[in-house]
């Protein structure tokens, strides 16, 4: 009797293994879409813990309930969950709208990645990779000298083509762009970190890319039915950002990077575009009928004979001729409060949520145009310049994108994103 039971168990176990093998592939997809930004498997802590061998540390039941709603488990007082939450800076893991089956697939994938010696899951994973990326396997001829240890092939591949000429971002309809193939990338609402985007309004963007020795240029297009270039308490503007790992030795989280890997970000805003095109978007520009009695200290600017009243004084005038003590952001040298902006973009670095920092050396250029419900934007990014805060790579790297729809009150973390895309530089 005992023997029969033993045999049955073996049979079940074998069957289970094959089920795991099948589901790992589906799990990989879910993992990359929902977990990748905060968790690695065997590459250390990102935002959340390393999930290697998590299947050995916790029961499946616990994992399912935690993945579905981590805060419910934390609030129930579960000691492991509470410790986990406290150990990870109390950043709550967002609830995942996944079925039991999907979660089990993810666990199968984690298990397969945790035990590379197990041949069955490994085959499945390789198969998946082989199916989804046939072209890149053949087109990437030179092997990268210092390839990242944690390089994972991304679902999408973008090719950047060499160009001899200067890319002038203002020439959005330049001839050469029409010869470059465009890649269409689906965008997702950001729901991993607070504050989240609850109503997505953009479906995809298309991107083309060319490069020169120290520059990579992108031509981006996306549909946006309303041109939003306003700034006020309930007015938000359209925005775009492109992000690179600082180096390809470590691939950081595509969500603003992490402590182990910084990211280089180039950020464009429609209000900055407006500032550069038409001059600083001052109060009297946005509210032409405004009226104000007096700005104390600025009385000398008034001239009744020329009909110059308080509301006619401009921020540029103040910055040019006197202390900005009454403009606290400008006085504190906040990069957001720059009155005389030269480019509609800024370059920044980040190493995690809330760490975005404007760079000292600003070299990126951009220009955009909104026409017939569509933004067309060209960004030129300085790379491989020797500056340690600009992206550095040899013949391939990764890029991620973000879009904000001002008409839908997108701002900060309330954005659309595209996770890492492999960027290949064609000869």
């Amino acid at each position: 009797m005992k023997r029969i039971l033993f045999l049955v168990l073996i049979a079940v176990a074998t069957q289970l293994q094959s089920v795991y093998a099948q589901n790992a592939a589906a799990g990989e997809k879910t993992f990359k879409a929902s977990c990748n930004a905060c968790h690695s498997i065997g590459k250390g802590k990102i935002v959340g813990p390393d999930l290697i061998n998590v299947n050995k540390r916790r029961t499946e039941k616990w994992l399912i309930s935690f993945i579905r709603s981590s805060q419910t488990v934390v609030k129930s007082g579960d000691p492991i969950a509470v410790k986990l939450f406290n150990d990870h800076n109390k950043i709550p893991m967002p609830d995942q709208k996944l079925t039991d089956a999907q979660i089990k697939d993810v666990l199968a994938y984690i298990k397969s990645k945790s035990a590379p010696a197990n041949p069955a899951p490994a085959t499945a994973a390789t198969k998946k990779a082989a199916i989804s990326t046939p072209s890149t396997k053949t087109t990437t001829k030179p092997v990268v000298a210092k390839q990242a240890d944690d390089w994972i092939d991304a679902e999408y591949k973008l090719k950047s083509y060499p160009t001899q000429q200067d890319v002038n971002p203002k020439e959005l309809n330049a001839e050469f762009w029409s010869k470059i193939e465009a890649l269409k990338l689906p965008v997702s609402p950001q729901t991993l970190a607070y504050p989240t985007l609850q109503i997505p309004s953009i479906e995809y963007l298309t991107v083309k890319s060319v490069y020169r020795p120290k520059e990579v240029a992108f031509l981006i297009e996306w549909n946006d039915s309303s041109k939003s270039n306003e700034v006020d308490v309930v007015k938000f503007c359209d925005q775009f950002a492109v992000e690179f790992p600082l180096s390809t030795k470590v691939i950081p989280s595509y969500m603003m990077g992490n402590k182990e890997g910084m990211v280089h970000i180039v950020h464009w805003k429609a209000i900055w575009q407006e500032d550069c095109e038409k001059g600083f978007q001052d109060v009297q520009v946005k509210y032409p009928n405004m009226w104000v009695d007096v700005y104390p200290g600025l009385e000398s600017y008034l001239d009744r004979s020329k009909r110059i009243y308080a509301q006619d004084i401009t921020a540029v005038q103040i910055v040019d001729t006197r202390s900005t003590g009454n403009m606290p952001g400008t006085y504190s040298k906040n990069p957001m409060s720059q009155i005389k902006r030269k480019e509609p973009v800024e370059e920044a670095v980040a190493e995690g949520f809330g760490t975005l920092t404007t760079q000292e050396t600003q070299q990126a250029k951009a220009w955009a145009e909104w026409k017939d419900g569509k933004w067309k934007l060209c960004v030129v990014v300085p790379v491989n310049t020797g500056n340690k805060y600009k992206a550095t790579f040899t013949d391939r790297t990764k890029v991620a994108f973000a879009l904000w729809d001002g008409g839908f009150q997108n701002i900060g973390g309330r954005k659309h994103f595209i996770p890492w895309v492999d960027l290949f530089f064609q000869k």
């Binding site: 109390k90 946005k286 003590g325």
Partner: protein, 375 residues
Amino acid sequence: MAKVKNWQLNREMEYPYEEKKPKKQITYVFDTNKCIACQTCTVACKTTWTSGKGEETIFFNNVETKPYGGYPQKWDVNTLKELNGQEWGKDGVYKGKTIFESETGERVTGWRPPERNYAFPNIGEDEVLGNMEKGAFFNGIHDIWMFYLARICNHCSYPGCLAACPRKAIYKREEDGIVLIDQSRCRGYKECVKACPYKKTFFNMVTRVSEKCIGCYPLIEQGEQPRCVTSCIGKIRLQGFMEDAKEPRRDSPFDMIVRIKKIALPLYPQFGTQPNVYYVPPVHVPKDFLIQMFGPNVEEAITQYRNMKDDKELLAAFMLFGNTHRIIHSYKAEENYAVGYNEIGDEIVRVPYVEPVLNRPHWDAQFQTFRHNTP
């Protein structure tokens, strides 16, 4: 989310950060019964801090007429609506949800005012609730009512603005509990504008970052009370410090007014931010309105207030209002005077309970003339 103790709700509540008390907490008491809405505080604040370009709609301090006034318009009713009803238990425990106990998928429940609501700073001024009936007369109780509510940032113990800032650009000072927005770090996401239930963070459209009341910290650091307090002609305000972690001190005017006699109450405690501006509720306003606004202890507070003339210890604390620009740390009710002391125990103010009256004769011998009451 951490569990923190909110003494105004008599219960624990959720907050994104651990409970951490400042060394002392900036505290204000406003007596609504004395306010005449002259807006001297508003102007004092405006000319001191927010007279620059882009600050046209920023009022760190404002005085509005309740029930209809509000800046930004309808700030309170809209936030209350978001909370979806608030109930107090018979034991004084708040049973409803705070702004941090959201079920909306947001970290803080908030309402973002449309810009039009910033367009009329003094809307509803002096408007009363309802109309006077023909032939109505005053018989001791008003048929219709309104009152003035002076408002500043509450420098909350659990600030909504701080909780919502994704950049941690907002901080609460350890030395005095003043809540500030780092002007060099803010990126103008306006999450704080949405999250602050009192709508006391404002967006500056020229610098494109947010600003809020700074509690006149340069004055506080020199032991002086803020501009809005010292400029008040009705002497309705007093600013000092309170430490709610310690046993209440009978020689602290704030502990006496807020914690011992419980005569001044927090504004909308149900928001859950544990605000630090305490209001003596208006005595002539219907109780249900006041309970919604100041919590369940309104009636006791009003009874105490009416009896204050016979309670010298409490009266002395109120005599200190508006009579010195220095910050009072302790006080004493002497036979004929209320006496205030600074941090090191030096006397800084001495106020008589009854102003001396001088009767001057009709004939002025010095100037050889008659004195007249000339209007």
